[in-house]
Amino acid sequence: MAGSQFRQVNTGIWHSLSLIGIFAVLFNRFSISAKDLTPRGVPLSRAALYDAEKDFACLDGTKLIPFSLVNDDYCDCADGSDEPGTSACPNGRFFCLNAGHKSIYIVSSRVNDGICDCCDGSEEFDFACPNTCDEMGRAAREEAERAVRLAKEGFQKRLEMSQVGKTYRQSKTEERSRLETDRQHAEVIKDEKQMLRDEAETPEKAALEEYRRLEDERKQKDDQEEKQRSEEEAEDMFRLLDSNDDGKITVSEIQVRQTFDRNKDGIVSDEEASFFLNLEAEMSKEDFLKSGWLLAKPYFLMEKGMFSPPEPEHMMPEPEHTVPETVHTEPTEPNSQEAEYHDFEDDEAEDLGDPSEKPLEHKELSDDEQDELDTPKEEPAAEEQKPKYDEQTMELIGIADKARSEFHEADKVFRDISNKLQELNDVLNVDFGDDERFTPLHGQCFDFEDREYVYTLCPFKDANQRGKNGGGVVNLGKWGSWSGPEDNKYLQMLYDRGQSCWNGPARSARIFIKCGIENRVTAVSEPSRCEYHFDFISPSACQNPDSLVHPHDEL
């Protein structure tokens, strides 16, 4: 047994001589295997090209050399053909017979480098490699048989999957033509209802137009009256303030009235007074009517208790405002824009650690709240103003409402059918493989767990990654295309346009599909940053076993 474990060295004598030194080193390499008389590293099938009786012609035909230079450990032929059994040529190859296993060629650089590459060890001749061919051959045969068994079982399942796929496509195709007919009908009805609606709306619109005109007129009149009232009020006020009746209001005339003590210190200062005179010393009646009144009016109203003032800083940039504190002590009033404004300020003042994000979020939220609160307020107001219509108009509105609702219904039916059709078309447009064999994977998802993550592949949809210790779901890519080699594109799927990596590209995943008797993700890796590889087995990737090489076809 021990003897058969080791390869027969070409000739025992050369081997023992190699221990002595130079002669063995130089001459061992000339040797031709005594066993079969073909030069070392040449298969029997090519022995005729190496005829020891003749000069050797390099196989590329470029050179003729004495046969003694074949395997003499010096490269003479450009194609490396003179040194099949040594490492002398950079482009040579060595034939291992590997009896009991598969014969192979190895590159010359592996000849006599101290590492056993051929299972029969024939490429190492300075020491003896163990012969592992029987063992490897047996394992390889078992593996090949297993592969055939797997392929048989898998292929059967593939045919079933394919049948499911074909049936699916057929039924979906039928459903599509059915829906297309339905959609045509629905469209006709929808168009009809639209016409009816338009017809009903015309008289309704005319009647309502009349009401709207009347309303506008009334409003215009009201505005006019309001304006006039305001002007009269202003003139009254001017007369009141212009104590000396000289047609001008001066600072001193303002200062006698406590109404204008803006900071409530008991004195109307020059500054306070001139504020109302547009920072001038005096103001003509004309200017007062135009602008002075607008400034003064709130203070008069306030005096009468009809108006609470906006906060000072809204009116002018006063430096010393104590208002935030005041507001702080009051209960926060979410409906009041003022209160929000100050909340925001408080945040800023207190939360120095995070000056940017939080207040902004807070503000956005408040705006939304405000919008929500505004909307319902307006509607009842509008309702109240709605004029009452006469009976005839009410009837027109009733007819139009009914026509509108009928149209909406018809339109909804049409849109629902269209959406269904769109979905159907999306599915029918997917390439589920020749023979529709990948169809059953559609709508399924397959998980794979490693130490840190759970990966999920939903064929024809997307691929995801989820951290086991929390963290959200990361999309590794959406279904893109089949991306296998040109002659067999169904060996690989590409999911792209996934979530972008920080500072990097959008994630993508390639799915490598191999034959198996079940559908399963067997491994996931990230060989390059943000580029994921899934190994997936599926019967749909199994080839017809009759097309596989039979294990005992080997040499």
Binding site: D73, Y74, A88, V107, S109, D113
Partner: protein, 488 residues
């Protein structure tokens, strides 16, 4: 994993940093606390900084006790899963502290002997490497040579290991900069220098990585290395064309390993840097002074790698003498030249008057080249003369120092005779290596006959072919004995 890798003659190097994760239950951290091995702050409290594992403390390599502890951890029975084929790369050893001032330790941290960090900062990396080196020595009972790579370095680093130029970027400017950076280090005595091929940050395109390989393979330390967030960049990921081109460049490096090895032997003996500026060998030629886009490898090779994107030509300067293109054998003389370049061109010139030993056999790993034969490149000067040398030992042990187990061979070509002479006759070093081929450049005549002789082969008639180069076929002399070849 180590087993799988090293089964084909390759080695493995793993990264080990000087910061230690502060985690109870982690033996190293607990040992360090118990035995007082950490750097401390001015109050005597163990210093805590932030590095890769999070909260970390830093071993005080200035303390002999720490160095001994650290070295002892490399023993094969202590370093779990390690073998003699596993070597070490010390990184982050400036030391790097993410939350420290200038990304290092505060200046008032205190080291062994009461020295503040400000006084010893630059030495810290060296002290770590020293200790790592000691650990590798001890694990083989001082029999085998360590290999240590370090990012931090200081005067004296050349005794312990190789350095690289740090975290560079994938751009042409950084490729160019790798030459003056390693020249500077070489002249300063840190001779085993290289830059990350392709650039550490960002992604090189195929052209940049190819040109970077071509340049780097003529620098002392060769490594492709990149940030974890870059794309894969192994030589085979840029398509078949670039795989073949990079393979071609890598093979040229392997062929020249005997020459590099000899240069590093000389470096150990004299300090002469293997990679050197032109002025090192041509101190009289002022034109060479500012040149930093080309360099010498030893005194026999001049390299001007292509470092420009889309380059179709390269301009270079050759100092005094005759120069031969190392790959197409074209002859040049002193002066400025411009030559066309294609994807596979690495402009490398052999100086007339030199002899370079190479190994032309292709192998998977340099350790598998040990028994392979030599091809000598004899480049003749104006007088038809040339000289060179070759140093050989077992490539891994200290027997060359302790037992004189090495061969130093001098080659000389003069008056139509090429001679090899073993300098250290009666060396106990044994080898089966032999002379496969002698390539002569610049021969002015075609010899009518060639006669070789050595003690064991006696007198033999040899064949030669070609004119320039003239190739002598298979002299077959053992490299361990004197021989000569006469051209008639």
């Amino acid at each position: 994993m180590i087993g799988n890798l090293t089964a084909k003659g390759r080695k493995m190097i793993t990264i080990i940093d000087p910061h230690i994760k502060r985690e109870s239950g982690y033996f190293l951290h607990e040992d360090a606390l118990r035995e007082d091995l950490y750097v401390k702050d001015k109050h005597g409290k163990v210093y805590e900084g932030w590095c890769w594992p999070g909260s970390s403390s830093y071993l005080d390599f200035f303390d002999p006790k720490t160095r001994n502890y650290w070295a002892s951890r490399f023993a094969l029975d202590k370093y779990e899963g390690s073998t003699l084929d596993l070597y070490t790369w010390n990184d982050m050893n400036e030391p790097s502290v993410f939350n420290g001032p200038e990304v290092t330790m505060p200046k008032d941290m205190v080291h062994f002997g009461g020295w503040e960090h400000r006084d010893v900062h630059n030495l810290y990396g060296l002290m770590q490497v020293m200790s790592t080196f000691q650990g590798h020595l001890l694990r083989s009972d001082k029999r085998l040579r360590p290999f240590i790579l370090s990012r931090a370095n200081f005067v004296g680093m050349q005794r312990y290991g190789a350095v690289w130029t740090g975290d560079n970027m994938a751009n042409w400017g950084h490729l160019k900069a790798s030459i003056p950076m390693c020249l500077g280090l070489s002249i300063a005595g840190i001779t085993h220098c290289g830059a990350d091929i392709g650039g550490f940050f960002h992604d090189p395109d195929a052209e940049l990585i190819l040109r970077w390989y071509q340049a780097a393979l003529f620098q002392p330390f060769v490594r492709n290395h990149a940030h974890i967030e870059t794309k894969r960049r192994e030589p085979w990921v840029f398509g078949d064309k670039y795989t073949a081109l990079i393979r071609s460049a890598v093979r040229r490096r392997y062929a020249l390993l005997p020459y590099w090895y000899t240069l590093f032997y000389q470096n150990e003996k004299t300090g002469a840097p293997p990679m050197r500026p032109l002025w090192y060998d041509f101190p009289e030629d002022t034109t060479t002074f500012p040149i930093q886009d080309q360099h010498l490898v030893g005194s026999a090779l001049l390299v001007h790698p292509v470092t420009d994107q889309g380059a179709s030509s390269v301009s270079f300067y050759l100092p005094e003498g005759i120069w031969y293109d190392f790959y197409n054998y074209k002859t040049y003389v002193n002066g400025h030249h411009t030559i066309p370049v294609d994807d596979d061109t690495i402009p490398v010139f052999q100086r007339g008057g030199s002899i370079i030993p190479t190994k032309q056999r292709i192998r998977r790993a340099s350790s598998l080249m040990r028994k392979d034969p030599y091809t000598l490149f004899v480049a003749l000067d104006q007088k038809g003369e040339a000289n060179g040398s070759l140093y050989i030992d077992d490539g891994e042990s200290y027997e060359y120092r302790k037992e004189g187990k090495f061969l130093e061979i001098i080659f000389q070509c003069k008056g139509n005779v090429i001679k090899a002479k073993v300098v250290n006759v009666n060396s106990p070093f044994q080898t089966v290596e032999w002379i496969e081929r002698v390539v002569i450049l610049g021969l002015t005549y075609k010899p009518s006959s060639i006669e070789g002789s050595s003690k064991s082969l006696g007198s033999v008639k040899l064949e030669g072919e070609g004119e320039h180069p003239f190739v002598i076929r298979k002299p077959g002399f053992l490299v361990s004995e004197d021989w000569e070849i006469k051209l008639h």
